[in-house]
C-alpha cells in the first residue's frame, strides 16, 4: 500500500496538454505535398510506390482514407513530392475531407444541434469490425492517464443503450456486419458514427478482399472519418474535439 502511494507521488501528472506540438522524428504525420507532386513527375513516382492506391497521379491527390502512412512514396520520390511531417493533426470529417489536393471541401463539424446536445458529454460504444486491433489499441489508449479522454467529458461505455454514438474500427468484415448494424440500431437517436483508420474509411490494406465491406461507409451513415494506420491517439483527440466544435487550444491539461 505504502509503495503504491509513494509511487503515485513520485510520478506526478503525466497527462499531455493540448495542443501537444509535433511528435519526434521519424513519426509519419501530416504529409506535405511539394511542387514536384503538384506539377512534376513525382506524382507518378509516388503512385507507383503506393500499395494501397491512395495516390491519383492524374488528379494529383492523396487519399488519406486509403493511406497507411507507410512512407514508401516519400522514399520513392526522395521527399520531393511527398514528405511526412511530424504533426499528428490530420484532416477529418466527411470522406471527401480526407482527400488532399482535391477540390477544397471545408471541414464538417457536427451540426449546431448535435454540438449543443453532445458537445460537452459524449458517450461512445466501440465496435471492432474486422481490423487488425491496432485502431482498437489506440482508442483504448485514449482512456489511459496520458491522453485522458474523460477530461473532455468523452468516454467509452459498455452498452449501446448508454451511448450517443459508435466508434468503429476495421473494414467491416462480412462476419461482423450484422453485429455492427444491430449495435447501431440499439443506440437511441440522435446518434453519431465515427469511423477511425484507413480500414474503416476504405478497407485500407484489405480493400477488395472477398471477406470485407471496404469501409464503414458502405454499411452505416458515417459522420466523422479519421485517417491513420492506426491514428495516433492525439490524431483521434484533435479530430473528435474538432468535430464537436471544441478548440484544443482552450483545453486545460486536466
Amino acid at each position: 500500500m505504502l509503495e503504491s502511494i509513494l509511487k503515485r507521488a513520485s510520478v506526478g501528472n503525466v497527462t499531455v496538454a493540448l495542443p501537444a506540438g509535433d511528435l519526434p522524428s521519424p513519426f509519419r504525420g501530416m504529409p506535405e505535398v511539394g511542387e514536384a507532386f503538384r506539377t512534376g513527375g513525382a506524382a507518378a513516382t509516388c503512385a507507383k510506390a503506393c500499395a494501397t492506391d491512395a495516390i491519383d497521379p492524374e488528379k494529383r491527390t492523396i487519399d488519406l482514407g486509403r493511406c497507411v502512412f507507410c512512407g514508401l512514396c516519400e522514399e520513392a520520390c526522395g521527399g520531393e513530392g511527398i514528405r511526412f511531417s511530424q504533426n499528428p493533426r490530420l484532416p477529418w470529417g466527411k470522406r471527401e475531407n480526407l482527400v488532399l489536393g482535391g477540390s477544397d471541401v471545408s471541414l464538417a463539424p457536427a451540426s449546431a444541434d448535435l454540438r449543443s446536445l453532445l458537445g460537452r458529454s459524449l458517450h461512445l460504444r466501440e465496435v471492432s469490425a474486422g481490423g487488425c486491433n491496432g485502431c482498437d489499441l489506440e482508442a483504448q489508449a485514449l482512456g489511459n492517464p496520458i491522453f485522458d479522454l474523460q477530461r473532455f467529458g468523452i468516454d467509452f461505455v459498455a452498452s449501446p443503450r448508454h451511448a450517443d454514438g459508435l466508434l468503429v474500427t476495421g473494414p467491416v468484415s462480412k462476419n461482423m456486419r450484422e453485429a455492427l448494424v444491430k449495435t447501431y440500431e440499439a443506440i437511441a437517436e440522435p446518434r453519431i458514427v465515427i469511423a477511425i483508420g484507413a480500414c474503416a474509411a476504405s478497407g485500407g490494406i484489405f480493400r477488395g478482399s472477398y471477406a470485407v465491406e471496404d469501409g464503414v461507409g458502405n454499411v452505416l451513415p458515417v459522420d466523422l472519418f479519421i485517417p491513420g494506420c492506426p491514428p495516433h491517439p492525439l490524431t483521434l483527440l484533435y479530430a473528435i474535439l474538432g468535430f464537436l466544435g471544441r478548440s484544443p487550444e482552450k483545453i486545460p491539461r486536466g
Binding site: 503504491s4 497507411v68 514508401l72 489508449a141 462476419n175 480500414c199 478482399s209 471477406a211
Partner: protein
C-alpha cells in the same frame, strides 16, 4: 539462416498417407513440434497438405506432404490433437472434409455465407456435407444454464463469441466461436514478393506488427535472395523485444484492471505507452510499422541513437521493476491470481500450445532459441519457464520475460555495431517450385509464415500462423471449474489475438 528454411518441392514427393500420419504423430510425442499444417491446390482439382515441424535442435526444420482426394481426408486429430484447428481451417478454405474430426465447426464463415463458398479452392467442391451452421456443445444436467457473451464485448476489444455452460457460478464448459475478424488476408498474399506484402503482414495482428512483418520480410528476402545485413537484423530484434516489453507491460495493466487493482492498471498503462513511444522513435510508428523493407530496414530507422535508446530503456526498466514487484507481491493480488485459470502441463503438451502460454505451463518452447534469427544466434534472451499454469504464472512469465528482454537489449545495444556487410550464410534461391518457411518468436509465441513459390518467384499460396491460433483452446481448458466472474482475468492472462486467428 536458422529462422528461415527453403524446401525444394521438386524433390519432395508426397508421402503415403500412413507415413504422413506418422510424421504428425511424431510432432505430438517427439522433440520436434508442429509449426504449420495447410492445404494447397497446386493445379485445379489436385490438393496437397503441407506440414512443417522442427525445433529439436536450433534451426532444424522438417517437411512432409500428402496428396488428398478433392473431397476429404482422414482426420489426424487422433494421432496429433494439435491439428484440431488446422483441419477446421482447411475445410473452411478448401472444402476438404476431415473425416472423423471430433468437432468440425466452422472457424472462418458464419451462417450468412453461401454453403459451398471455399475461397481458396478453384474447382467446384464436391464436399459431401457442405455446412456453415455452428453446433454448440450442449451440456445437460440439473441446473445447467448457458451464458452467451459477444461478439460485441463490454470493453474496447475485438469481437468473438463465448458460450458458457455453468452449474451455478461454476463453468463446466466454455465454447469459443470466432471468425468475426475474418478478412481473407491469406487470399491477398499471392503474387510478387513486393513491399505491399510487408504492409499486409503488419496488419495481421496490429499488436504484433514487428513480429509478423519480421517473419514476412525474411521470407520475402529468401525468395528474392536479398538478405538483410547484420545491423538491420539487430534493429529488427531490438524492435521485437521492445514490442514484447510493451505488450507484456500492457497485459500486466489489463490483469490489474480485471482484478480491480487500479494502481497497476494506471502505471502499467502509462509505461506501456512509454514503450510504444520508443518504437515510434525507432520506426516512426507506435506499433513498429515501417520497420522492415525487403533487404533491410526503413531508411529512417532507427530514428534514435543507441545510447539514447539505452538511457530510455534504463529508466523504463527501473519503473517497471518497481510497479511489477508491487503488483506481484501484493497479497490481495496473489489471492485473486494464484490457482485461477490453471492450464495443466499435460494439456499444454498434448495440444502443442506455444509461447508464453506454454512456458507458464512447463512446456519449453521458444523460437528465439529453437529458430534463432542472426541477432539471437549467439545468445538469445534468458529462457523463462514456470509450471504452475495459473493466471499468476502467466503474469510472472511476462514480468520475468520483460526483465530478460531488458538484459538482452542492454547487452546488444552496448556491444559493437555489427559490420554492415551481407551475412555469410546468405540465401540461395532454388529454381522451381519451393516452400519457404519463416519463424519468429512474437510476444505471444511463435509466428510461422510459409509460402509456396513458383519458378518465377511468385507466391502462389501464403499461410500465416499466429500463436493465438494455436492457443485459443487453452482458454477453454483453463476456465473449466472456475467461477464465471473469473473469466475476464483468465481471458486477459492469455490475451489472444482475434485478428491473428481469424485472418
Amino acid at each position: 539462416m536458422r529462422c528461415v528454411h527453403t524446401f525444394d518441392l521438386g524433390n519432395s514427393a508426397p508421402l503415403a498417407e500412413e507415413a504422413f500420419r506418422a510424421f504428425l504423430r511424431e510432432t505430438s510425442t517427439g522433440a520436434d513440434r508442429l509449426l504449420t499444417l495447410f492445404a494447397e491446390e497446386p493445379s485445379p482439382g489436385r490438393f496437397l497438405l503441407h506440414a512443417v515441424a522442427g525445433g529439436a535442435a536450433p534451426g532444424r526444420f522438417l517437411y512432409a506432404c500428402v496428396e488428398t482426394s478433392p473431397r476429404s481426408f482422414r482426420t489426424f486429430t487422433d494421432v496429433c490433437p494439435g491439428t484440431h484447428w488446422f483441419e477446421r481451417e482447411i475445410y473452411d478454405l478448401f472444402g476438404l472434409m476431415p473425416e472423423g474430426h471430433p468437432e468440425l465447426n466452422p472457424l472462418r464463415f458464419h451462417e450468412a455465407w453461401p454453403k459451398k463458398f471455399f475461397p481458396l479452392r478453384s474447382t467446384d467442391a464436391p464436399a459431401p456435407d457442405p455446412r456453415r451452421g455452428y453446433r454448440f456443445l450442449v451440456v445437460r444436467g440439473e441446473g445447467i444454464h448457458e451464458v452467451a457473451v459477444g461478439p460485441v464485448h463490454a470493453g474496447i476489444i475485438e469481437p468473438g463469441h463465448f458460450r458458457f455452460s455453468c452449474a451455478g457460478e461454476t463453468i463446466q464448459n466454455l465454447e469459443i466461436r470466432l471468425g468475426y475478424q475474418h478478412k481473407g488476408i491469406e487470399s491477398l498474399f499471392p503474387g510478387g514478393p513486393e513491399m505491399g506484402k510487408i504492409l499486409l503482414s503488419e496488419s495481421i495482428s496490429g499488436d504484433t506488427a514487428v513480429g509478423h512483418s519480421t517473419a514476412c520480410v525474411r521470407l520475402l528476402e529468401a525468395i528474392t535472395a536479398k538478405p538483410a545485413d547484420p545491423s538491420a537484423e539487430r534493429w529488427r530484434a531490438v524492435a521485437l523485444e521492445i514490442e514484447r516489453i510493451s505488450n507484456h507491460c500492457g497485459d500486466l495493466g489489463g490483469l490489474s484492471t480485471d482484478i480491480g487493482y487500479l494502481f497497476g492498471a494506471a502505471h502499467f498503462g502509462r509505461l506501456r505507452g512509454a514503450a510504444l513511444n520508443l518504437l515510434l522513435r525507432i520506426t516512426g510508428n507506435r506499433f513498429g510499422r515501417g520497420l522492415n523493407r525487403i533487404g533491410g530496414i526503413g531508411p529512417r530507422v532507427p530514428g534514435i541513437a543507441p545510447e539514447d535508446l539505452m538511457a530510455e530503456l534504463g529508466r523504463l526498466r527501473a519503473e517497471m521493476k518497481d510497479v511489477g514487484t508491487t503488483l506481484l507481491d501484493a497479497p490481495s493480488v496473489g489471492v485473486r491470481m494464484e490457482g485461477t485459470g490453471r492450464l495443466l502441463p499435460h494439456t499444454a503438451k498434448t495440444l502443442q500450445f506455444v509461447g508464453l502460454t506454454a512456458r507458464a505451463s512447463g512446456r519449453d518452447v521458444d523460437a528465439r532459441r529453437d529458430f534463432p534469427s542472426p541477432a539471437y544466434v549467439d545468445s538469445p534472451p534468458v529462457n523463462v519457464l514456470l509450471d504452475a499454469g495459473d493466471v499468476m504464472a502467466r503474469a510472472r512469465v511476462r514480468f520475468l520475460e520483460m526483465r530478460a528482454s531488458f538484459d538482452w537489449l542492454s547487452g546488444i545495444l552496448a556491444g559493437a555495431m555489427p559490420p554492415g556487410t551481407i551475412a555469410a550464410e546468405g540465401v540461395v534461391p532454388a529454381a522451381g517450385r519451393r516452400l519457404v518457411v519463416s519463424v519468429e518468436e512474437g510476444w505471444r509465441g511463435e509466428i510461422v509464415h510459409a509460402a509456396v513459390v513458383d519458378g518465377e518467384k511468385r507466391i502462389t499460396r501464403y499461410k500465416v500462423v499466429d500463436p493465438s491460433f494455436r492457443n485459443w483452446p487453452a482458454l477453454s481448458f483453463a476456465v473449466q471449474k472456475n467461477v464465471i466472474s473469473d473469466f475476464p482475468v483468465c481471458n486477459k492472462s492469455f490475451n489472444l489475438s482475434y485478428s491473428g486467428t481469424d485472418l
